[in-house]
Amino acid sequence: MSNRTDSTVVRPPALRLRGVTKRFGAFTANDRVDLDINRGEIHALLGENGAGKTTLMRIVTGLYQPDEGEMRLDDETTRFRKPEHALRAGIGMVHQHFTLVPTLTELQNLAMRPARFPWRNATADVRRRSEQIAATTGLRIDPDRLVADASIGERQRLEIVKLLCRGARILIFDEPSAALSPGEWDELAALMRKLAAEGHAIVLISHKLTEVFAVADRFTVLRAGAVVGTGLVADVTSDELVTMMVGGLVTERPARAPIEPGPPVLSIRGLAVARDPLDPKSPPALSGIDLEVRAGEILGIAGVAGSGQNELVEAVMGIRPALSGRIELDGEPFEDRTPRRFYESGGALIPEDRHHVAIVSGMTLWENVTMRALRRPPLSRRGILNVSAARAETRRLMTEFDIRADTEKTPIGRLSGGNQQKAVLAREFSDHPALLIAVQPVRGLDVRATDFVYRQLSEHRARGGAVLLISMDLDEIIAMSDRIAVLAHGRITGVVDADDATRTRIGALMTSAEDTPCS
């Protein structure tokens, strides 16, 4: 399968897989995969949700054992029984779901590793290393901040620094940009190129083809676990890649019809939120927020990660107390907020941190998909669940939302990242909410599923639903929103109509509050 286009390379590939097969029960997640990763190259690993990309890289990093096939590292057959062995051999992976301890500081997380001298305090050492990395790559961390206080983007940066600290030579990025702002992505891309130029080998798993074309040298496409194509990125077009991945092209989304927005569904007046929910005197995370989302409208919130997006969602949901401000939901004052009342008043939420707050990985797919519907008629009556109805409903949603899983009884933690996200989408859309808060809704979704979500959002809008779309992806915000509010440093610095929105204009608003940080 792999056509060695690069015949000038005499050195063996840094990593070579031959006939690697991985089965989970009767299901084949990787089917005789051949893959060569060279030093100095950025290799894009592509494929739709559930194609087996993560599984393959978990084999490479020793998290899974292959059922068949061999793996050669610098032309030597190797086999890792533990991730630790792979790390020691110089293979590191930034996972789709982070592997940090939230209750420790960033530095402590970096220092947490199998040490050669267990009794030696690694902290000083690691601090120096991380400063070196910051100097050479520009990847800066905040050593004394608790990971729990860091945003997803910041946590990811820490993950990358962690691998570099440990001297990884083959770096695997599993959907690294899902959580990054465009600026951060540009930095990461530059960093990857720099690392490749220094002789590292880099594997990039991504669903965003623009990223692939921007940085990758070669690509390999998986479909249903098997390699369906590999070659130089310069030799393919984006349409060809999509065809290889999903077996057909994704049709153009119809232009959205303009809709006269209806009455406000969510209205926020003067909302202020403290950074520390237990300490009202702590510096504000949000202040003076005025927002209105009307029926039949998608209001986009643009802003870099950590501008107060999480606090906004949590305050509206009633997870986090507000210092002041009034919120109205679906025409009614929404006081004494709790998540339960939020849903009862017609809200729905696609949260950013899926693993932490949206799914219970140990429970089955059907229990997760019907997590809320299960607790009211018709799926339960007088406290008794109607399990078969709930499972039937899940099977229906699995077809509608193209959730790939063996059965609805599979624990949701076993699904691929994209399919977990689809399960969350299925749950939230099937609730027919008046207001949908969607935070990075296409995080981790393949092209087809992304398109599907955008269509769903548009349909929801066309039905007169309101959407509060929060994303760090400016293009997504500009493409989907009717109006765009820019959030910077806990304040709304401007609201722009979609027709007047340009990247520069919004970018300017995103940074405009920097001169006057709220304190």
Binding site: Y64, H97, H356, V360, G362, M363, M371, R375, L385, V387
Partner: protein, 366 residues
């Protein structure tokens, strides 16, 4: 499908039993008893005749009740260890009520003792639940300390307010006849109490509660991922409190069963006899499956009864049963660690799961 899932647990249980048997034979050989003689004495003492089998089954009931309490609490993610204290509290309240129920007709008196047991255990567990929910005190710590308090309270009760007038011994008067839980008349010695019907009934109730009710669903969601539960409008605190209180109720009922379906019709301060902690081992050995726990409860009860029989017939040291139970507990934990390691290697989707408490390893999804 079901078989495939159950198979590892069956193997683990069998392995634990075999290993325990080996350890037992070693101890027996060391104390100069032929293992063959011991086996026949053990069998005779546990299931050899209907009277002894009745005793074994009856003793399995409190163990299972505690185990079911543990299963409910752990499913909600609340790992408390207050079962001994709750057994004592339940038994004590049942005693206090039962001693005054002599005038009531039999069924009512029995019901009163059972309900008092449930109430006593639930109230005692309520302290732990309240400390956890409103003060953030770790339930495992407060419940452990409350166990000590309960032991002292029981010691005081049988020497003070509840002490019997008949003798100076630290025990209560005999329970009124009407409050004694009835037993099958056909079994010699009346050893088989009717409360063995609780074995299947309570296990099935717990299975249904967890798998078929909105309440149980909320418990499992809270236990699986408290934050996700909270974000979906389930209150994990309410669930946690309810789970702790329910587990206390089960333990309290176990306390009442120990006394009113037990061998001696009075309460003395040692009546708990390790049931609270052994019940946890019963649940762990069953991989937290309520149905499977019926079996493991009987296994544990037979260890207890058989140990006594060995002592009586072969003069084996009385601590043998305790050593055996201890060995089983250690082996169960070992098996749980091994199973957890095997599991930790495959589904690495949630790295945090591997670090979750040992006690949850082998947790069954109902």
């Amino acid at each position: 499908m079901l078989m495939r899932q159950q198979l590892p647990r069956v193997l683990i249980t069998a392995g634990v039993i075999v290993a325990a048997a080996l350890i037992a034979s070693l101890i027996l050989l060391a104390s100069g008893v032929a293992p063959a003689a011991a086996v026949s004495a053990f069998w005779e003492g546990t299931f050899g005749n209907s009277a002894n089998a009745g005793t074994t089954l009856t003793q399995a009931v409190p163990l299972l009740l505690v185990a079911l309490g543990w299963i409910v609490a752990t499913r909600a993610g609340r790992l408390h260890v207050g079962y001994p204290g709750q057994v004592i509290a339940g038994g004590a309240l049942a005693t206090a009520i039962g001693l005054h129920c002599g005038g009531l007709p039999g069924p009512l008196a029995v019901l009163a003792t059972a309900l008092a047991g449930i109430a006593g255990g639930a109230l005692w567990a309520g302290l732990t639940a309240w400390l956890w929910a409103s003060r953030g005190v770790l339930e495992i710590i407060s419940s452990l300390l409350l166990n000590l308090v309960a032991v002292q309270v029981a010691a005081w009760l049988v020497r003070g307010p509840l002490q019997g007038s008949a003798s100076q011994d630290p025990q209560t008067d005999n329970f009124p006849l009407s409050t004694i839980w009835p037993s099958f008349p056909g079994v010699p010695g009346q050893t088989l109490s009717y409360d063995v019907v609780l074995l299947p009934i309570c296990a099935v109730i717990v299975v249904l509660l967890l798998s078929r009710t909105v309440f149980g669903f909320g418990l499992r969601a809270s236990g699986g991922n408290g934050e996700a539960a909270r974000w979906s409008g389930i209150d994990p605190k309410r669930g946690g409190v309810a789970a702790i209180v329910i587990s206390g109720g089960f333990a309290g009922l176990a306390g009442a069963a120990l006394l009113f379906a037990g061998t001696a019709p009075w309460m003395s301060d040692g009546f708990e006899a390790g049931v609270g902690f052994n019940g946890i081992a019963v649940a762990l050995l069953a991989g937290n499956s309520p149905i499977f726990a019926i079996l493991t409860a009987i296994v544990f009860a037979s260890l207890n009864v058989g140990g006594t029989a060995l002592q009586a017939t072969l003069d084996v040291p009385s601590s043998l049963a305790e050593v055996l139970q201890g060995a089983v507990i250690v082996l169960v934990l070992l098996a749980a660690v091994l199973a957890g390691r095997r599991r930790g290697r495959t589904p690495a989707t949630q790295p945090a799961a591997a670090t979750k408490s040992l006690a949850l390893v082998g947790t069954e999804e109902v």
